[in-house]
Symmetry: C5
Subunit: 158 residues, 5 copies
């Protein structure tokens, strides 16, 4: 059985990992062809190594790494370092690790922010599934201005 890794943080203010888990649980083949391995780490700087461990020690084919950076300048530098770590872990392992960050400055309204977060995590759970089992779904959306979280931008008029 394939394994999809999900890792999130105690720092985030929404249980992002559970959103990813429940979305994946609704996909075809769940429990038959693939299962989900879940981890939680303290903060987003711990995501990269946790993803590597999910790939190498837990045999995950792909990982969804969820974080919620704060809006202060120092938080943004830390988010950059966390993202660089996830990039490094991807390139070194040769496996996709989908970085799913929702930045607190993206949306001031708490209810809309929560909706943005749910949508983004859910969409990336689908993307992880497509990367593994349905690359043609990605291919047919090439250049279509697809967004995760808000409305799609759509393709530019020809």
């Amino acid at each position: 059985m394939d394994r999809i890794g999900v890792v999130d943080t105690m720092f985030a203010r929404i249980d992002m990992g559970s959103i990813a888990e429940s979305r994946l649980a609704g996909m075809e083949g769940f429990g038959e062809h693939f299962e989900v391995v879940r981890r939680t780490v303290p903060g987003f700087k711990d995501l990269a190594v946790a993803a590597r461990r999910l790939i190498e020690q837990e045999s995950c084919e792909i990982v969804i790494a969820c974080g919620m950076p704060g809006g202060a300048e120092l938080d943004q530098v830390c988010a950059h370092e966390a993202a660089q770590g996830i990039m490094l872990a991807q390139v070194l392992t040769g496996r996709h690790i989908l970085e799913v960050f929702v930045h607190s400055q993206e949306e001031p309204d708490p209810a809309k922010f929560a909706e943005l977060c749910r949508n983004r995590v859910g969409s990336h759970a689908v993307n992880a599934y497509w990367l593994l089992y349905a690359p043609e779904e990605l291919r047919k959306r090439a250049g279509q201005g697809i967004r995760q979280g808000g409305a799609d931008a759509g393709p530019l008029p020809r």
Copy 2:
């Protein structure tokens, strides 16, 4: 038969990968000496690992990695991370991965932006071909102020 990889994103608003594919399909030796392997990923941060996979798992000699960063400050930081990942994948694999990014702030007019995009992707498809099969074409243009997308700057007057 050699393989040239092309990877692009659902995020972009133009089907950049198809531009690269069609340009390569018009080059000498297409279908005889080389073929094209195409992938699409969600966003530009997924390009680096996809390129590595095209090189190591699909035996591509070279990869063209296409992305379209947005203009917001957060987008620019993400573009920087994506570009660093592509750089890392190149140096680690020892294979060229041509980063073909068209930044939305480069040109406000949609029609001109689309033309810029088509030209840049097409020129880099030619560059990939030259790197593999005609390095002398690159050599004879050394220091000639060649640009991809807009007009060439040309050499400085002596």
Copy 3:
């Protein structure tokens, strides 16, 4: 017996490593299932390689790396480089290295700063313990807005 590494600096103005050590000494299993290996280096740019050495030469399962960056612009660039090194060491070794930095600009009052420092180091010592022996403690706090040092932000209202 497992080993937990603790590394701190001469540069910091509080003995951060001893805070981590004493917190770990109060955890269940100390001296029976795990022990602590302590190192001190000159400054925070020396932490990453010291952590790698603790993992590879001293067989530590996890490392707590403590630093106290100054507030000047040059200090912040150096802190960024130090943090990138710790990230790199984590991803390369596949072991968690908890970066525990207390930035001098976080709190101007010396007494409150010292309290922030003690709380953050102590909390991360607990996090290190949980990562090794009680991952379910992390899991049940996923998305709960947990902070190290100040008050928890708490989860967003549903």
Copy 4:
């Protein structure tokens, strides 16, 4: 016979690689103890992997990597990425790769800019030679405020 690699770009507006080649051709031992291997790539982000290839596939002992970044903000970010790639390639291969960048904002006057470029490339060609064959020439200039391109700053008065 030793090999010294020279790689430059089509993007630059001066044929930097030929300046390096001709300077090396005038050094003692050229054609007897060492030869030059020349490559041209599209832009400066392609230099790092080209340098690695010159080292690993063409057996170069050292590489001179020439680029000419533009002055726009986006160009400067790209120059930073290109420089990081060259740094990475150096550290991974354990061979010197001399980064010879001439930034267009360094000198507005075209004639002076060209002279700056010629001087810098030429000086680094000599540096490459010294690193290989005459390290004592470098040693005796330690701390002498040597510059490549403009006038030397000289040592500080004691």
Copy 5:
């Protein structure tokens, strides 16, 4: 006999490497238990690979890498790249490389600047010695606000 590496640049305006060498020559065991291997490179971007070579080809246990970045914005970006390279070389080799940079904007007065430089290089030479032969000296100064170059900040009042 152990070996300590010292590498500096022609770019610096003070012979930093000789300061390190003479300080090490006064330490106990010099010439009996350890010797110094000295290199000079063109500029600070050449330090990282030179340090790696000192470790791997010259069997140095530890390296002191000395540079003197200029104050212009471009110089600061280059200093950041040089520092990242030194960090990378440390983490990859698992050996300490003490980055000893004196930034020209730290002190405008030339005589005070020279004194700052001498003190910083000398202190780091001692730090290198302690890392190898007297880690307890570092340990007992943990959190004491030790600085290299200027006056120590001292520990925060309890």
